[in-house]
Subunit: 407 residues, 2 copies
């Protein structure tokens, strides 16, 4: 049996935590071959970014990848040392040594293939294998470039390795107990879910639930890897992310409330209502690698319309910068930004087959006098843009309206 | 023209120092292709060692190499970013990316070969190449292991790269002005040497002069690479390490005074005077990778003798441990250690052809009432073991006796 386990940065933030995680890995290794994927210790990645920005405010992607990859390389070596100190045989591998071959795209490289020969050889010789998360290499030669997989990259490393090794389990250990019906810090009645479908998890992640990054879930769905998300410092069962099954039919069609306050709304005022204008605007943003959400275009009046959308706060400056020349070109009147907005969403695969959920959602928000600024929907999600100050009130109202405290 | 420059840890200890070094490299790159080798920032290596020891007091060599190599990987990426911030095109390479292939021996791997294709390709495309010092890889595939080259490893990286690239210059920048006739902190009249032979430099380095590590000098001698040692924060000319030339004939036959206080003397008391005993003792120490110096065996009395030698203070515990079983086996009476000793040496290739230098050295020490505990010599060096407290007094006496303040 092969088990892939991933431990995040807060789980390996200092020597004592490393030793505690090593004990968990060692325990698992009594009954299975273990591949442990580790993130950089604590805030290492942020500290390296800050250091780089002191030296170069606009750092090159390739060099940043090489710099940031050192965080996981160090933590993987330290974890191997912690395992060895406790009497286990263990070996650490960088992403490159583990055979994780990626595209040649800095900061957000996708995995092209995994050459798992070295991992298998180490497992066959009875070792616990510790793999540096978040990183890969552009080719299987030592002169190739080091890449990183972007936000949540260590989760992706773990799920991709589980797929390549045909592992029996893939376990993502983090500092939360699993996936909840809503953020438990906001809604005390929020309930941990025992299982959730890939699709639902993707919608929750895309709407600001920080448990797991979308890419790892996508890889899991693609290769049919069931992913357990659980707390690294407890023995609680966690949440299993898997294919939708028949049992899901008889449960609450709404699975959870997601929210995201880390966004800003931009409104382009006075856009001439001509074909190709929207393409011009959003193509420029896509080129600049800016993710856009909740796009709303008003009904045109006298050949002129307003167009609004949201981006993450981190992307706000970059978005303004990228829009500059486009707005001039199309002759827009003004660009208005509003940082005081939040997204709130209901997610559940049952939404697609049960009509009337939008209605109930809008009603619950109206009852709390929460104004809806924009609406977007997917097959299994309804998202409203609301005032940032009302987001907690909105979460509680929706959690109650859809009876999410009940199984 | 290709110039290889190496900058040590104190020269790149923080962002400001990195930027200053980047300016120097950029200046050089106006007239030549530059390969810059960098050490880890400031005390990074020591901090990583301390962290590892908190997790595992007897850390495995392979994992330590992987951990420590992150220090140079990070500083090389940051130096590339500093060069780019100042408008240069630059790329950083790990030891593996630079094609530095080593033996598979942790912590002190020797370089087997250098595959300089990637460096040449980057230089050909007009880039400044920054190479992470101190490290290599065991093979040219991405699954190979990362190794480190041991103390002074970044110097070795620079000299070996200069040889592989057939570079026109190899410059080692450090925090001293060059090689002096004696430690200038002890002897105010100490004079910087404009040049020194490989052989003399090796004897000085072996006797505690901390300017450059022996291995790099050996590589330089082997491949005929002239090495300039100079101060990274000044524009002073430094000292050139090169082949002995005719001019060296007419200068002072003694080139410098070396000293080393970081040693301890061990005396094995009551050693049976039988063939093979010394081999048993020193073979065990060699196996444990302990360097031994100033070996003295007293005249045998009644078939029993005393044997004494020195090791570095860092190796003292390991030496005691390694000697334990051997002393039992040979039936030695006792092991006495004395940490209050120091080595003091005169070095110069002229010593070999000029008799009477030992005599003058012993006389100068006697005049200061400095007792000589042991003596060893090489062709171009005479070393005395003396009381640690008398070492400064000894340096000054010898500097004066051999008129080293004069060219």
């Amino acid at each position: 049996m092969i088990i892939v386990q991933k431990y995040g940065g807060s789980s390996v933030a200092n020597p004592d935590k490393m030793k505690a995680v090593a004990a968990r890995i060692a325990e698992t290794s009594k009954k299975a071959c273990v591949v442990a994927v580790v993130s950089a210790m604590g805030d290492t990645t942020d500290e390296l970014i800050a250091l780089a920005k002191q030296i170069n405010p606009m750092p090159d992607g390739r060099e940043m990848d090489k710099l940031l990859a050192t965080g996981e390389q160090a933590s993987s070596a330290l974890m191997a040392l912690a395992l060895q100190a406790a009497g286990n045989t263990a070996v650490s591998l960088t992403g490159g040594q583990a055979g994780i071959i990626t595209e040649k795209v800095p900061s957000k490289a996708r995995i092209r293939k995994i050459d798992a020969r070295r991992i298998k050889q180490e497992l066959d010789s009875g070792k616990i294998v510790v793999v540096a998360g978040f990183q890969g290499i552009t080719d299987n030669v030592s002169s190739a470039d080091i890449t990183t997989l972007g936000r949540g990259g260590s989760d992706t490393t773990a799920v991709a390795l589980a797929a390549a090794l045909n592992a029996d389990k893939c376990e993502i250990y983090t500092d939360v107990d699993g996936v909840f019906t809503a953020d438990p810090r906001v809604e005390p009645d929020a309930r941990k879910l025992d299982s959730i479908s890939y699709e639902e998890m993707l919608e929750l992640a895309g709407q600001g639930a920080r448990v797991m990054h979308s890419r790892a879930v996508e890889v899991g769905e693609l290769y049919g890897v069931e992913i357990l998300v659980a707390n690294s410092s407890k023995q609680t069962p966690g949440t299993l992310i898997k294919k939708e099954d028949a049992n899901m039919e008889i449960r609450n069609p709404v699975r959870g409330i997601a929210h995201d306050t880390d966004i800003a709304r931009l409104t382009i005022v006075g856009v001439p209502d001509r074909p190709g204008i929207a393409y011009k605007i959003f193509h420029g943003l896509a080129e600049a690698n800016i993710s856009v959400d909740v796009i709303v275009q008003n009904v045109s009046e006298a050949g002129v319309t307003d167009l609004s959308f949201t981006v993450t706060n981190a992307d706000l400056d970059k978005t303004r910068h990228a829009l500059g020349p486009v707005l001039k070109e199309i002759g827009a009147k003004d660009l208005v930004t509003d940082p005081n907005v939040a997204k709130i969403s209901i997610v559940g695969s049952g939404i697609r087959s049960h009509p009337g959920y939008a209605d109930r959602m809008f009603g619950a928000l109206a009852e709390e006098s929460i104004n809806i600024l924009s609406i977007t929907t997917s097959e299994i999600r309804i998202t409203c843009l609301i005032d940032k100050e009302k987001v907690k009130q909105g979460i509680r109202a929706l959690h109650k309206a859809f009876e999410l405290e009940k199984v």
